[in-house]
Symmetry: C2
Subunit: 107 residues, 2 copies
């Protein structure tokens, strides 16, 4: 997975940090489908994800409205419920305004 190619700040980020329960329980398939669906949402700017024990997924958005719309998406609501019922031991969601950013790329 590449580093997300986001536009100049300000924009918004959702930091989703999670600890999974044991077993897959359909998580892998749903996570993949959901990531593809996320990318089609209005205001979506990019996504970055990594897991080794702790999972961290950061999605980037144009506005708080676009984040709220994605949170209320019907298929996403089903996944959110499944997350509480089955997939996650614990999670934290943090809604952020990206104030500034900078980067480095080896040439």
């Amino acid at each position: 997975m590449p580093i997300a190619n986001t536009p100049p700040a300000p924009y918004y980020a959702v930091i989703f940090t999670s600890l999974r329960t044991e077993g897959d329980n359909g998580y892998g398939k749903m996570a993949e489908a959901l990531e593809q669906l996320t990318a089609t949402q209005p205001g979506f700017l990019g996504i970055e994800s990594a897991r080794d024990g702790l999972g961290i997924t950061v999605s980037y958005w144009e506005s708080l409205d676009s984040i709220a719309a994605w949170r209320a998406n019907a298929r996403h609501l089903v996944a959110q419920q499944k997350g509480r019922d089955v997939w996650y031991e614990q999670f934290q969601v943090r809604i952020c305004r990206v104030e500034r950013d900078y980067g480095f790329e080896r040439t």
Copy 2:
């Protein structure tokens, strides 16, 4: 690594996303020392980190001033230079204000 136990919002987050170069090149030892040093900084609230190919480290802070002070820390400056010289193929740093958060913990 547990999910960071942060105080009520607002607070600040630094999202550091990176792609490593090949080989360790002293990275593991420095990363561990640096993470321990981070935790002693004024205004530090917590840290979360995961890597599978893409690396994501999110550190949480009381204020933009505490982030600026850590960025200017002498040992951190040495690590930043080594990052550009040796360890990273690419990275992005995003400075964020956490506007709100919510979580779930299985009982």
